[in-house]
């Protein structure tokens, strides 16, 4: 049996980590390699050690990259593909900025746009080229329900996630005639370190549930998936509320 190679960008994210646990858990002996990419080696090693205890037969590798530099992103992805083709790539990094701060401080605003929008797109672009050449692979990117409609409480984050949505749509069009699948995941509010400050205020879905949805969507090669699925309906309604009403609602 050949080894499946799964590449995870932003592998220290709670969502990505729970996907990795699911993959490691179901892998038969010696058939899975997980390549973890992050910005800090000690944090990556914490995730790698955990996966190693859970599934000692799975190969786990940690790679540090600079998420803000296009050349570094290119070099990282090329080096990984030089070792062999990738079957699944998941791009998961992101940060939830303080909207009020983004309005005051353009540096914070720029960082939020870069980390949530630009950086994932650059990673995806680098990976997509290799997958297209091999005509093989599934590329999954985590967007957000926040990208479906801008609203005053988090539109900087929402705009970056909207960028990811539109990018994924274009990539799906480009790769439609190949074997490569592009999966866009739009989670609703999920219980992870990113939302720790919202605990109690908002209803958060357990991260393990969201991870199961992500893994299933990747297995099926679905174009777009909401996690959990109810957000498909909720966002459909929110997107269709007329602006003259929407602009009066406090969300």
């Amino acid at each position: 049996m050949t080894t499946q190679r799964i590449l995870i960008i932003g592998a220290t994210s709670a969502m990505a980590e729970h996907c990795a646990r699911t993959w490691a858990d179901r892998a038969a002996a010696d058939t899975l390699a997980l390549i973890l990419v992050g910005r800090d080696l000690s944090r990556l090693d914490r995730v790698a050690a955990d996966l190693h205890v859970r599934a000692p037969k799975v190969r786990v590798e940690s790679i540090v990259s600079d998420f803000a530099k296009p050349e570094a992103i290119r070099a990282t992805i090329d080096a990984i593909h030089a070792q062999g083709r990738i079957d699944v790539a998941l791009i998961a990094h992101g940060l939830l900025p303080d909207q009020a701060q983004c309005q005051q401080d353009l540096t914070a605003c720029a960082e939020a746009l870069e980390v949530n929008g630009l950086s994932p797109v650059l990673f995806a672009e680098a990976i997509a080229g290799h997958m297209e050449k091999a005509s093989h692979g599934t590329l999954a990117i985590i967007g957000s329900v926040a990208g479906d409609r801008g609203r005053k409480s988090n539109y900087v984050y929402g705009a970056a996630k909207g960028l990811v949505s539109r990018y994924a749509q274009g990539l799906q069009h480009r790769l439609a005639s190949t074997q490569v699948k592009v999966v866009l995941i739009k989670p609703g509010p999920t219980d992870t370190p990113m939302t720790a400050h919202l605990k109690g205020a908002a209803k958060l879905t357990p991260v393990s549930d969201v991870a199961i949805t992500i893994v299933k969507a990747i297995d099926a090669g679905k174009a777009t998936v909401y996690a959990p699925g109810k957000w498909l309906i909720i966002m459909h309604i929110i997107r269709h509320i007329p602006a003259f009403i929407f602009n009066k609602i406090n969300i």
């Binding site: 914490r46 050690a49 955990d50 205890v53 720790a196």
Partner: protein, 431 residues
């Protein structure tokens, strides 16, 4: 601020909850935001894991396994790892947690801080007996590594230390070899306490796990079902876990005198009829309530107490008989009533609950003053017998009973972290 209750649901005060998500971030959070108290799965019944209006460090993000040595069975993991995850991962590999309480939905940190016991105390002691080392984060930034041979005083203070000596970041646990998930079990009905003690004594040598359900309201008191089990090498596939739940909080307690007597009689007779030997999966045997989500809601909006005492064997029979008499007269109590003997072992922790003797644990729906008055009468029996109450279950004992029951208190206090305080520590100690 977030309303937080413990398992007994006696209160729901606002807390400033700070999630610990990595050892590095935990260090920052704890040194910058205190006084506070660590909170794991909140499976303690009383106020030991609460700090109303104050800081609560939620440890569930410290959920990473760090290393496992397949040859020796030594597992190093972070303190927020839930025991069920360890069991699910390790039992198929031939290793099991040596000691677990009546629920596996608790964290490693919580298991250490209450030095929890299981059904096999007479063979393997408590959870702390199997900890090889642990790492403690103090609120002044200091990190202390300790174990039975390394800074043993810190270790003895932290095992059973109620979370008051620091936040446990990680621990090394000695797992134990196991053939599989099955146990050879037996249910033996008993008619009175004398029969219970005979069964308990004769089971000590041949049975690893012993526990009993006792009918706390039957006249005369003391009939029950003795359950015992040994790990076995059965290889049949695991059963499918069922899922039941208590979807809402009923307006009044479902446990009341009208429901209790028929239930207990029915339960006793049903199980008596099923008595005898069988092969049982470890989950229903060890953790019978874990599949009924939120069962603690059945006691209604006012919540419930658990009263768990241990008294020495020398006067244990009389003390248990006296307590059952009080409870039966009061008409209070619940079908969740457990009677069990502890082995003749010295606990690891200065403040550990287990001591040689017999322990009785009962749930009581909270009926305010009436329930508290009954507890005062039970306290008197425990005090007289030279016993003490389990802090993991306690929400109301007077400081004086606590001091009398825990003679190593003064020694323990030297190891407290001044930046840590809980509702329980303020109720029973100086801060």
């Amino acid at each position: 601020m977030q309303a937080i209750s413990s398992w007994g649901r006696l209160s729901a005060f606002p807390h400033e909850v700070i999630s610990l998500s990595s050892p590095q971030q935990a260090r920052r959070a704890i040194t910058e935001h205190h006084p506070g108290i660590a909170h794991g799965m909140g499976r303690s019944y009383g106020d030991i894991c609460l700090n109303p209006q104050g800081v609560l460090w939620n440890t569930l993000g410290l959920d990473h396994l760090i290393a496992f040595d397949e040859a020796s069975g030594r597992l190093i993991c972070e303190a927020g790892v839930v025991l069920r995850d360890i069991q699910h991962l390790m039992i198929p590999r031939g290793w099991i947690l040596p000691v677990t309480p009546g629920t596996q939905l608790i964290t490693v940190g919580g298991a250490i801080a209450n030095d929890v016991h299981g059904k096999n105390h007479h063979v393997l002691g408590a959870f702390g007996d199997h900890i090889l080392s642990l790492r403690l984060q103090r609120t002044d930034g200091r990190v202390i590594d300790c174990g039975p041979d390394l800074a043993p005083q810190w270790f003895a203070a932290t095992v059973g230390g109620m979370g008051l000596t620091g936040v446990i970041l990680q621990a090394e646990i000695q797992l134990r070899r196991v053939a599989g998930p099955w146990l050879d079990t037996e249910i033996v009905p008993y008619a009175n306490l004398d029969e219970f003690f005979t069964l308990a004594d004769e089971s000590e040598a041949g049975w690893e796990h012993t526990v009993s359900w006792i009918d706390c309201i039957c006249k005369g008191g003391g009939r029950g079902l003795f359950m015992r089990g040994n790990p076995c090498a059965e290889t049949r596939p695991a059963p499918h876990a069922g899922h039941l739940g208590m979807p809402f909080v009923p307006p009044i307690s479902l446990v009341n005198p009208l429901s209790l007597r028929p239930f207990n009689t029915a339960y006793f007779n049903l199980k008596k009829w099923q008595a005898g030997r069988s092969i049982t999966h470890y989950e229903p045997f060890f953790y019978p309530l874990d599949n009924i989500q939120n069962w603690n809601r059945m006691y209604g909006p006012r919540g419930f107490f658990q009263y768990q005492s241990v008294v020495p064997r020398s006067n244990g029979r009389e003390a248990v008989q006296a307590m059952l008499g009080e409870i039966s007269r009061s008409g209070e109590g619940s079908f969740l009533a457990v009677l069990k003997t502890f082995g003749n072992r010295q606990a690891v922790g200065m403040m550990s609950f287990p001591q040689p003797g017999v322990t009785l644990a009962l749930d009581f729906p909270n009926k305010g003053e009436r329930t508290l008055k009954l507890f005062e009468r039970l306290d008197a029996i425990v005090r007289e017998a030279g016993g003490h109450l389990y802090l993991a279950k306690d929400a109301r004992q007077p400081a004086e009973l606590f001091r009398a029951g825990y003679p190593r208190l003064d020694e323990f206090l030297q190891y407290r972290d001044p930046g840590i305080s809980s509702a329980l520590s303020r109720r029973l100690m100086d801060y």
